[in-house]
């Protein structure tokens, strides 16, 4: 029997002895069963393949990793960011905002996008009202966080408690605070068969390689006249390594066939939210010891946030990368893994329900005076970084102009 996950059930699970919530979801490619999907490639163009022994199959089944643990975490953070930007949830967000610096292209990076979350180097090298972030009142509090003192992170960056964080470049360097992830997710393609891919380009202008070489022009762009080219040690500087028209994106690319993409029987996403991991976190307030009731509410809040993140990504459909879009074939059911050997309780949860549940728990957290930064904390990049970004954008524009032959 599948029930809707409500506050009572969630709270009971977090405060009890259950091990985890787990959701296993099956997908098919958006193009239908049999359409090809393109998993991530790793160094050397390799795919992360494996064989699994699965029920119903006599022989080991070839499988391929479609989305790694780290990438799944990134997707969940982006799903939370979208929900926050749409005003659906209240979430602590720290943003480094480059606007107001007359940049060619405006830039904003949030704590949900920074690779190392609140401990990221970009935030570290940004300022709040002229003060370096880690020297501010908020930043200093990060110097003292750990499992038994996680209140500052709950307030400023709860996703760091869900997806993990290592404050490796704070005042303590490599011995800085470490928080293990509490939620893990991964997608694999099952019963996969590698296919082939083709690549080619037909130049509408049919420019031949021998039409070059092209040179970097003194006035910007490129030129065929060596006299008009920028000179380096008395010689005209070629566009790219040897001035081929392809350096300016002209010319044909002959058709190539190579290994690429897989057909799969199905894709399977497994997401696990660890409850013992949440129970290790404590949230003391006002310089006093941690209150048990407040701890439980804080942990329940994090659990609700984790379930919300996982549900939002599923509901949006998994657009993992080019030619790798997946669609779920059934609703999402979360199993509560408690006593081994016993049938787990099952709960359904869609995005709307997850948002509502999250809101309910957040309200309880506020009643317990647990801190939760609702206003966006906007940092400004350091002046030096701003100069560098501005310069880089200017150079990029001029180089792009060269490629287009302006």
């Amino acid at each position: 029997m599948v029930s809707e996950l409500n506050f009572d059930a969630l709270s009971k699970a977090v405060t009890g002895s259950a091990a985890a919530f787990r959701c296993t979801t099956e997908y098919q490619p958006m193009g239908g069963q049999g359409d090809k999907v393109f998993p991530p490639t790793y160094e050397g163009g390799k795919y992360a393949t494996e064989e699994r022994i699965l029920p119903g199959y006599e022989e080991p089944v070839p499988c391929v990793l479609l989305n790694s643990v780290q990438s799944e975490a990134n997707h969940m953070e982006l799903a939370l960011l979208d929900a926050w930007e749409e005003g659906k949830i209240k979430l602590p967000v720290i943003t480094v905002d480059f606007s107001g610096n007359d940049l060619e292209k405006e830039l904003r990076v949030t704590s949900l996008e920074a690779p190392h979350r609140i401990a990221d180097a970009l935030l570290r090298d940004s300022q709040l009202e002229g003060v370096m972030f880690r020297e501010t009142e908020q930043g200093r509090r990060l110097d003292f966080v750990d499992n038994k003192n996680a209140t500052a992170l709950l307030e400023l960056c709860p996703t760091a408690l869900l997806f993990g964080m290592w404050d490796s470049t704070g005042p303590k360097g490599g011995l800085g605070a470490k928080f293990a992830r509490t939620i893990v997710s991964e997608i694999i393609g099952i019963n996969c068969l590698m296919g082939e891919k083709t690549s080619s380009r037909l130049d509408p202008a049919q420019i031949m390689r021998e039409a070059g070489p092209l040179y970097l022009a003194k006035k910007g762009g490129w030129t065929l006249d060596p006299m008009e080219a920028q000179q380096v040690k008395g010689k005209p500087e070629t566009l790219g390594k040897d001035g081929k028209p392809s350096e300016a994106n002209h010319g044909n690319i002959p058709p190539l066939i190579s290994d690429g993409g897989f057909t799969i029987e199905k894709a399977m996403q497994t997401t696990v939210l660890s409850l013992p991991a949440l129970r290790r976190l404590k949230f003391p307030m006002n310089d006093g010891p941690a209150d048990i009731a407040a701890n439980n509410v804080a942990r329940t809040l994090l659990a609700a946030l984790g379930l919300l993140a996982a549900t939002l990504t599923r509901d949006k459909g998994m657009d993992l990368r080019s030619r790798c879009q997946l669609f779920p074939t059934a609703g999402f059911v979360w199993e509560l893994l408690d006593n081994p050997g016993e049938e787990p309780k099952k709960y359904s949860l869609n995005s709307e329900q997850a948002i509502t549940l999250f809101g309910q728990v957040l309200k309880k957290a506020k009643e317990k005076n647990l801190p939760w930064m609702v206003e966006e904390l906007v940092l400004k990049p350091s002046p030096q970084l701003t100069v560098l970004v501005k310069k880089s954008q200017e150079l990029a524009v001029s180089t792009a102009g060269a490629a287009e032959g302006e």
């Binding site: 002895s17 091990a19 985890a20 787990r22 790793y42 160094e43 050397g44 390799k46 795919y47 992360a48 393949t49 494996e50 064989e51 699994r52 022994i53 080991p60 990793l65 790694s68 643990v69 780290q70 830039l107 990076v109 996008e113 690779p115 190392h116 401990a119 990221d120 180097a121 970009l122 090298d125 110097d143 003292f144 499992n147 290592w166 490796s168 470049t169 011995l175 293990a180 992830r181 509490t182 893990v184 991964e186 497994t270 696990v272 660890s274 013992p276 991991a277 129970r279 290790r280 893994l337 081994p340 350091s382 030096q384 970084l385 100069v387 560098l388 970004v389 310069k391 880089s392 150079l395």
Partner: protein, 525 residues
């Protein structure tokens, strides 16, 4: 009995068997890894005195047996993860930034961040449950403490390797048990003092205290600052206390459990089913036609490493130099056969012992099998004959070896068996009844190794396994007294009821000929 069950909640284990190299997944999980996870649970989750007492008790127990399934491994790939030690360069006023400065500054942005290569080795067991079993332990006193610890474990290995653990009353029988003799694997196990060592290296109490004093110092007034500074210097004369990686735990040999899970009533040969598998790690590839060359070189290597007097069960000779009539050690190749595209090349070789030889005696005479490196991996040994054979081999210890290197490929119970290398006949069959004579010799050969007579024997020129050459391509064995060629043939045969291996038949059974493998006839389950 005390048992702890561990379930990998993602269906896989992410843990490295080779430390920072991270090229080999660890499977099965080492008992010390579990102990460290229990210790972490005890202190990070503040499990209390009962849990701590359970840990102290556990570290004083003998090493546990393990019950676990085989695992396959994800291909090791290199991911590139963004670094966090990037710094914005300092610019000089009124001076244009250089290209390098621009590049360094931009590397703070997520899309331009530098990345470092990382590997994440993953083992995927067919069954996500593993059991650690301490037989004969009196657990009444620590049942509760162990249960508390188990409920608070989060991961085993990498933080993504989430697990659920529980105190288990009724575990399955262990299939890997500790041994002081020849071992198939070596696992790290806790020993007395391990808990104290882990707590000492983690140094949590001192680090917290130092942190608290330092925090007070930052916000104190000048008088308090001076006092606190003195206190810090006095309490921590060596500066900030560090959290250090623990030393590796001691290695314990493990061996597969005796009957490999087969039912005791299944007839089996007098060779021990726990064959020792040696994987070829380097050297020229060889095929089935080179069986005699390889096994001869391997025998020489084994004999050269034995102390005098070499036991009869190894040499095959009595003390006065005569050929032994008793079963003795057999060496045989492990070829890739029976699959599509199989070509019969050797992945390694195996050593089969007579069942009645004690493990302690095997360990004493084959001590080189227990030679391992700091990670518990067997060190390679050389097998060469100066010409065609130039191998290095090491004890097969991976959790999911290729089919040819799996013990059950050659030992699992079956009614139907067929040759991979031809059976050598004791004498040359002659006359009109020579085929019947040969069939009878095969039947006798089965009895000679403790199996029943087969119901039916069919002699063939070729083997039913893909990749096995025609019998004529196998060099003949030569009779010692006149160097005459001994006749050999492939065969397919079946028994009334399943028998288990290894099945090594005929006059060449100690040297790799007469190697048989379970063969499933059409329609057999």
């Amino acid at each position: 009995m005390l048992a702890i069950g561990v379930r990998y909640l993602m269906g896989w284990s992410m843990a490295a068997a080779d430390g920072v190299a991270k090229q080999h997944p660890e499977w099965p999980p080492h008992p010390d890894r579990l102990f460290m996870a229990l210790t972490s649970a005890c202190y990070e989750a503040e499990c209390g005195d009962a849990a701590e007492a359970a840990l102290e008790w556990l570290e004083n127990q003998p090493p546990p047996g393990l019950a676990f399934s085989q695992a396959s491994y994800r291909r090791i790939v290199t991911s590139y993860t963004p670094v966090n030690d990037t710094k914005s360069p300092k610019l000089k006023e009124r001076k244009e930034p250089t290209k390098d400065q621009i590049k360094n500054g931009l590397s703070l942005l997520p899309e331009s961040r530098s990345r470092q290569p990382r590997q994440f080795p993953v083992a995927i067991p067919s069954n996500p449950d593993v059991y650690f079993i301490w037989s004969g332990s009196d657990t009444c006193e620590h049942h509760e403490g162990v249960g508390i610890l188990c409920r608070n474990i989060t991961a085993l290995g990498h933080s993504a390797s989430l697990v659920q653990a529980w105190y288990c009353d009724n575990p399955p029988p262990a299939n890997l048990i500790p041994t002081e003799t020849v071992s198939d694997q070596r696992l790290r196990v806790p020993s007395p003092g391990r808990l104290k060592h882990l707590v000492h290296r983690f140094n949590d109490v001192a680090i917290r205290e130092f942190g608290a004093l330092t925090a007070k110092h930052k916000t104190a007034n000048s008088k308090q600052k001076k006092m606190l500074k003195e206190r810090i210097s006095h309490q921590f004369p060596n500066g900030e206390p560090q959290c250090l990686r623990p030393d590796p735990a001691r290695l314990q040999g493990y061996r597969r459990a005796g009957n490999l899970g087969n039912a005791p009533e299944i007839p089996s040969s007098w060779f021990d089913a726990r064959i020792l598998v040696l994987r070829r790690t380097s050297g020229r590839p060889l095929g089935l036609e080179s069986t005699l060359l390889l096994t001869e070189a391997a025998r020489k290597m084994i004999l050269s490493r034995c102390h005098d007097p070499i036991p009869e069960w190894i040499s095959g000779h009595t003390a006065d130099g005569k050929a032994s009539k008793a079963l003795h050690m057999a060496v045989f190749p492990l070829p890739h056969v029976g699959r599509e595209h199989a070509d019969g090349h050797f992945l390694g070789l195996a050593i089969a012992m007579p069942r009645d030889v004690q493990d302690a005696e095997i360990a004493q005479n084959l001590a080189w099998l227990n030679d391992c490196n700091e990670f518990g991996h067997s060190r390679p040994v050389d097998i060469y004959n100066g010409k065609h054979v130039d191998w290095q081999v090491s004890l097969e210890q991976s959790g999911f070896p290729p089919q040819a290197l799996r013990i059950e490929t050659w030992t699992r119970p079956s009614r139907y068996w067929a040759t991979v290398t031809p059976i050598v006949f004791d004498r040359h069959p002659k006359g009109a009844e020579k085929e019947n004579q040969a069939v009878e010799m095969v039947a006798t050969a089965c009895e000679r190794i403790g199996l029943p007579q087969p119901t039916c024997v069919m002699l063939t020129e070729i083997s039913p396994f893909t990749g096995v050459p025609h019998r004529r391509r196998f060099p003949p064995m030569l009779r010692k007294h006149d160097q005459g060629r001994m006749h050999h043939s492939h065969a397919v045969f079946y028994f009334e009821t399943p028998v288990s291996g290894p099945v090594l038949l005929g006059a060449g059974r100690f040297r790799g000929y007469g190697l048989c493998r379970p063969f499933y006839a059409a329609g057999e389950g």
